[in-house]
Every structure is written in structure tokens, then in C-alpha cells.
Symmetry: C4
Subunit: 209 residues, 4 copies
């Protein structure tokens, strides 16, 4: 096992994460998508409809940040997922983001159901685990940005871009209601640690009375 996910080749690290997240129930069937920045202008992302428990290093496409063009397909039949647009927006907005992980988590959806219809944020619980997002406050009042789900994923991506351009998020994460969280980080290991941190926070929230 590599010391850190950042010591692995990008796609090998993403395969590791996919198999682990699938085993934990966070990427059921083909759900979710994972990406990592290859260079300032491109990122590798899982191709559409790949079973996440059996992901391989060939199941990726290389996408250009500025226009979403697919510049490489490891296998010729790899297709981009609609959700690629969300990853693209995040890489464009946050140059420091090197990896971006999106899964589907039952308890995250349950926790988000507690927020009012149309709410722009979900107040995260002020428990110790929030330090996983580098928040060092005694009684942190931190909101996880919440977005509505739309069949047209480009609309979600647009909402994210518009809101974050105006109001940068307090955490490197967002939640799409009825759907799931997306977490990014300055490296693969940081993104993965924070994904686990957010899952813990939302699992607590879903169970707390």
C-alpha cells in the first residue's frame, strides 16, 4: 500500500478510492465520479457508467478545464458523464483544487432533507470532526453549500459557478440535494480525507435527534 494517495499515479489512486468508496456503499452500482487534475488545464475523470467496485485505470477520459473538450479517452468507447461539468466548474474556480470526489451517500441525503426547501446551506454540526476541514473555532457556524438537483446537470453546474463566484464556500465541499456530496482538495489524499470527514459529519447529523 502506498504511504499516501498522492504517491500513486493519478488514475491508480482514483481506482483505489473508487473500490474503497464502493465497498462502503458510497458509489453503489455505477454512481458517482472521481477526478484528478493532470495539469493546470486538464483533469482525468471516470468515464460514464463504469461499475465503481470494478473500476480500472482504463476507465477514464482526459478533459480540458476551459471548454470541457475530451482530449483523451483511454478506451475509445469511454464516454464523459454529464456530471463532468460540475468537476470542470470547480477546477476552473479553484486553481488549488487537484482532486474532486463525488459520491452518493444515503445519510447525506437524509441529513440534507432536514434543511428547508430552497435553503442555500446546511449548517454543519459543531463537533470535533469539523477540524478535518481545517476549521479551528470553538463553536463553528459553518454551512455546507446546498444546491437543488436538476435533471439537466449543466444547470446544477451553472448554479454552482454563479454562487461560488459571488460567495466562496466555507468548506471545500458542496451537497446537491437528493443526490450527494462533492468534495475537493489540494491533493488526492486531502480530498479523500475530507470526503470521509464530510460523510462522518452528515452521518452524525442524520442520526442526531
Amino acid at each position: 500500500m502506498a504511504r499516501s494517495l498522492d504517491d500513486l499515479p493519478l488514475r491508480a489512486a482514483l481506482v483505489d478510492i473508487a473500490r474503497e468508496f464502493h465497498a462502503r456503499g458510497w458509489m453503489a452500482g455505477t454512481a458517482g465520479n472521481l477526478s484528478a487534475r493532470e495539469d493546470d488545464h486538464h483533469f482525468w475523470i471516470t468515464a460514464s457508467a463504469k461499475p465503481k467496485g470494478r473500476l480500472e485505470e482504463t476507465d477514464f477520459i482526459l478533459v480540458r478545464v476551459n471548454d470541457g473538450e475530451v482530449v483523451e479517452r483511454v478506451r475509445p468507447d469511454n464516454k464523459p458523464s454529464a456530471e463532468t461539468s460540475i468537476h470542470r466548474v470547480l477546477y476552473a474556480l479553484f486553481p488549488e483544487a487537484r482532486a474532486c470526489l463525488h459520491g452518493h451517500i444515503v445519510e447525506a441525503v437524509v441529513a440534507a432533507d432536514r434543511a428547508k426547501q430552497g435553503a442555500k446551506g446546511l449548517r454543519l454540526p459543531a463537533i470535533e470532526m469539523i477540524k478535518g476541514f481545517d476549521i479551528w473555532q470553538q463553536n463553528p457556524k459553518i454551512d455546507l453549500p446546498l444546491f437543488g438537483n436538476h435533471l439537466d446537470v449543466a444547470r446544477i453546474a451553472g448554479d454552482i459557478e454563479k454562487r461560488f463566484r459571488k460567495t466562496p464556500p466555507a468548506v471545500t465541499a458542496l451537497m446537491v440535494r437528493d443526490h450527494g456530496p462533492t468534495v475537493w482538495g489540494a491533493g488526492l489524499q486531502e480530498a479523500c480525507n475530507r470526503f470521509e470527514t464530510l460523510e462522518y459529519l452528515l452521518r452524525y447529523q442524520a442520526r442526531a435527534r
Copy 2:
């Protein structure tokens, strides 16, 4: 690990699924049964009373779709399970079905308990994960077909046949109350992905308020 379950020999793939589902608690003890179509007229199915966490490629029988005749037993003492009749009905009704997976899931039973006595369907939650069944609608109103459980399994199979002949299901899945889901697909990987998808949807439903 094979790229896809469809790259494995049929029974090897079913063994993989059985051990995975057992580990997840979806095939406790000997519960559930898994099948895959060998050709248009026959399917392999797990023999009765095999512990699913220790399934082997010898634990199968080959059954004829049109009359349920056992045409091959990998081991001479392999016996057909009563639930073979449900698989047979599904292969007969849906020529495109190549694999059929039936497990017992606590949270699926809990979710189905919320439907009224005698209800013919359980409205699935309109969350993102429903796309795993190739449903692309903004606010999908999709019912999972619900059937009553009977000691006489042939009666369940008959109910399924009668209902589906008249009203094809909106998803390639059904739920027998107090019992568990059955999911089929155009291949082993698709059936497995959709089984995981349904488990997620029903787990959400069991936990949502």
C-alpha cells in the same frame, strides 16, 4: 479482478456476486438465489440451501425456461429452490433479461412495510440514484412492483406472471413483501448494478422521515 462481471464465466460471476452480497448482509445464511441465462431456453441458478458466503461453481443447476425441467446438476445432489419458479417467469416474460438476482434485505422489507396492505407498488424516492434504472425524468413517479408473500412460491410466481403480462413493470425489479427484492438486467453487471441501486433507494426510504 475481471473488468466486468460479464467478462467472467456465468457461474464464476454468480459466485462473485453471492460472496459480495453475503458479506453485505443481503444473503444471510442460505437466503436468496442468483441466476444467469445460459442461452435463450436455459438458465443456471443456485441450488437450494447453499451457504451464500461459501458458494462455489458446482452449486448450480441448469433449468429449462419453458417448463422448469432441471436439465443439468453440477453435483448430483443439487436440488432446485422453490424460488426457481420466479426466475423462470421473469426469463419467459423478458427475453432481454440475462441475469436475475434475488436477496433478502432488512431495509427493503422495512421500506415496503410503509406501503398499505395490498398495495401493488411502492413509490420509489425521486432521488438521483433512480437514474441507475435508466429513468431520466425531473420528478419521476416510479412504482416498484410489490407482491404479497406466500408460503406457496408458485403462487407468487403466478401473481408476477399475471400482473406483468398485463402491466409491464417500470423498472427491471420487483419486491415481495416481508421477503426481498428481485432485480434483473440485460447482463450480469447491469443486474448487479441495479440491485445495488435498488438497495440504496430502499435504504434511503427506510431511513427517511
Copy 3:
């Protein structure tokens, strides 16, 4: 992997079960004990205070059924657990029992909490999974025998013996309140399958509304 637990040497099979049950959270720390009949008059049982996630074939003692005498210790410092007396009673009462498994399961304790104080049985849910106990009825009304927990384990063993001598149990299992289930079977695989079956039934009961 062996085809069936019954194809393994007795203690190797018990070690397999212990590691699996520990991983599932049913034998936290050193909790629980597992036994298998060596012959009509003796059974192997886990020695006291062994961590179940690291059990080995040397962590057993051989006990005589009729008087509880320890006739062999694989390691000289292996000590009998107080709960050996419960296993002894069950082997004495049921000559067909070849294996006996006792774990501690949070959801079993939660389910049993629903029974009235002093109740002698917990009505098992009439769901399909009950067939794992070879109960083939349309609406089974089966009670899992319930016993009160006592610091003095010999008293629990005595209660079991007295009650079962008069009223044999409807299932090859019992539950000690605030403690956990004990399940036996005509072989190691059957005992293990039924333990998983009971866990499923009680997990359902703990979650059902």
C-alpha cells in the same frame, strides 16, 4: 475456502466463524464463545478472554458434557469461560446439536428490549427469513425463548435446562436479555447459517416500526 464449514477440522471452522463474527461486530473484543461437539460426550469451546478477531486453533479447551470437566487444554493456561455451562446444557439436552454459537449483537439486545419484563419469549417476525429455521408456515407464530441475564451464569444455564426440559424450543436458538443470542445446529454450517438468520430477524425487529 472450504465448501462448507463442516469440511474443515472443528477448531479451524470455529476460528473462521470467530473472525467473521468479530468483523461483523457480533463478537466485540473477547465477547461470545463458540463450540463444536467432538464426540457424543465432549465438545471443544473457546477458552475465556481470547480476542475473537485473532482467535487461533490453540485457543480452545475440550469439555465433558456430563460434568463440565475440562479434559484437554490446547494451551496449559487456557481457562474455561463461565458460559461453558450454557453450551453444556444445550449439548446434554439436544444430542443432535453438533455446534453452538453465542455472540453479542446490539440489535438483538434492542429487539429483546421490546418484550415485556419477565416475558418468556420474543415473537419472531413472520417474514420469509424465518424459513432459515426450517419453519414452513404461512403466518408462523414462533417465539424465540427469552431468558433473564444473571451475573451468575450457572443460574442462566439452570433456567435454560429447566425450561427446555419441560418445553422444547420452537427454534434451535435462545436469547438472553441484555446479553445476546445462542444458536445451535446439527452441524457447524447449519449453526452458522441459523445464527445469521436470527441476526437478520432481530435486526429487522429492531428497525421495524
Copy 4:
């Protein structure tokens, strides 16, 4: 696999525990820290910010009990975690403690939420599993020491020291609210067994009605 965690080199044992606890969701991301006493005056403890699912034997520092001085860093960039102060207090107070394990457990936080604001203890459930703390009473009334969480970890350590100097705890464990449990033992295996025991007790408490 070693017979007991105490048969392994100290740091190898801690690595084993970290990977296991991470897999169980008790050390999400980099959360928690684990230590073992090297000799009467020093203990090895996980360095700050290491992902616990990928911990290695180089991810440790050696700390002096009496003043908290870091006397060895396996890697030069290993930094002490703020929570080292809590481990230090426990080793200073309890010379028999050889290992000390701290994790973050959703259900422990949920269980502690049931205690009144400012409560100094959480009454543990009087169920069989409490024997894992060597408590042999028919109706034990045992309180798990509860402490408030503070951004300034030294303050938590100070509270623990002050309270325990006056009132030694009834169990070798404590809980910091909104945070997680810390468990110690006379050896690595005992500490690990008791951590699992406490997790079970608090999971029960979080689910019981």
C-alpha cells in the same frame, strides 16, 4: 496474523489497529490518535494529520511523559498532534496503562448527547458487554467520565488530570463530548478489546429507546 497485538512490535500493532479502526469508520480521514508506552517514561504516538487507513510504522513520534518533549521523530517532518497532551496525562496518572486509543465514533457522540449539558458522566448500560471492563456486578451503575470539548486541547487535558486525580474513573475510558472516546489498557490487546467494548455499549445506547 499475530496471536495477540502484544506479540507485535509496538508501532506495528498500532498500525494494525489504525487500519482496522479506519475500516470500521472510527478514524475517518486523519481523525484520532493511538499510542503505546515504550518504557516508563516515554510513549510512541501517531504524528499529526496522517491518514489512518494508510498509517505506517514511520508515522510516529516518541514523547516523554513528564514534559511532553518529542525525543524522536521516525520521519523528521512528523509533528505532534495537539491531543498528545491527553495521552500524556493518562500515562502520567496511570502507570499501569501501556496503550491508549482515541477515535471518533458517530454513535458515541450521539449517545453522549443524551447526557445533560455539563454532566460529568454518562451512565453506561447495565448489559452483559460491560464485563469487557472487568465489571462483575448484577446491576452495575457505572458512569463513563464525560468531558466538555474545547478548541484548546490542553484545557481538556487539564480537566481530565484535575478530575481523575481527585476521582479515579470507574472504567479505563473517558468520553469527550462532540468528539469521541479514549480508552487505555494494561496492554495493546486489552486497550483494543476495551475500545471495541465501549463502542458496542455506546452503539447500544444510541439505538436503545
